[in-house]
Symmetry: C2
Subunit: 163 residues, 2 copies
């Protein structure tokens, strides 16, 4: 996949010099589409866990990151406070999360994964990620390394989208 001559490439990938945008745009398009379809397909796999994406994701943050205030959790998940309030309420109703008031600053609520919540996440782990992990495991080492490097770049790009 490592061709060195930009000028000789497909039209889809653009001519490097005349229109620098085209290359980036095509890549962005494919990346966006791949992300959309990846998440859609994974969401399906996931029906058995009984948790929706946002809930699973929030629970995962709590399990691996420890107790967090709702505000921090909202920030981590990049949603607004009211949205996180409801997500945590849902998890609490299901018994996967408990909340305690902070003793020093009593405006704060700390959400904490319960044993059951931790068990759910660890045991079945996360079926959507599992499904993906199984596919990734069948890639060869070079492909995975390539993917790993790209994810690092992608994480950086995602971070930069804030500005």
């Amino acid at each position: 996949m490592a061709e060195a001559r930009p000028a000789a490439r497909h039209a889809t990938h653009g001519v490097a010099n005349s229109e620098p945008d085209r290359d980036a745009r095509a890549l962005a398009d494919r990346l966006h589409s791949a992300a959309v379809h990846l998440l859609r397909r994974l969401r399906r796999q996931d029906s058995t866990s009984g948790l929706s994406g946002p809930r699973l994701s929030a629970l995962s943050v709590l399990v691996f990151g420890g107790p967090l205030t709702l505000g921090d959790l909202a920030a981590a998940e990049q949603v607004r406070a009211p949205t996180m309030t409801r997500i945590v309420q849902g998890l609490e109703r299901l018994g996967y999360v408990s909340r305690e008031r902070d003793t020093r600053d009593r405006r704060l609520f700390r959400a904490r994964a319960t044993a059951r919540g931790r068990a759910l996440l660890l045991e079945g782990r996360n079926r959507r990620v599992d499904a993906l992990a199984r596919r990734l495991a069948s890639l060869d080492a070079a492909q995975r390394q390539l993917l790993g490097g790209s994810v690092a770049i992608l994480e950086e790009v995602v971070r930069s989208l804030d500005d």
Copy 2:
């Protein structure tokens, strides 16, 4: 999350297949998270276009793929029929899509992008993708090439998730 596990860096073949190895799982985790956050951030950028993700995506399919029945469109977007009914209704209400009955099989509705819909998509194109493209354009060539290769792998992986 990571217990120190010195051996088996490339344990793809060594472990019982029931549990994808740590490497693949960690990668899957990061990939999943990156995809989630990518789409979340892009959705924000997009407020100016006035179209939500699903609508933009459906419109894009119609613009580039030509008129489609609602069923085909639903299949392409991987949603159920009622969902696509409403997405198309929304687009129709906004004037970006029109529908015609199929003359041969009058159960079928064919959705078609209007001139205005096509213009919206082509002109501003797709602001979420634009925002991403701008970021990608500022990567160096090596990074972009790396990302390009990875997207190809990713597309394959996504396809394989159907099985």
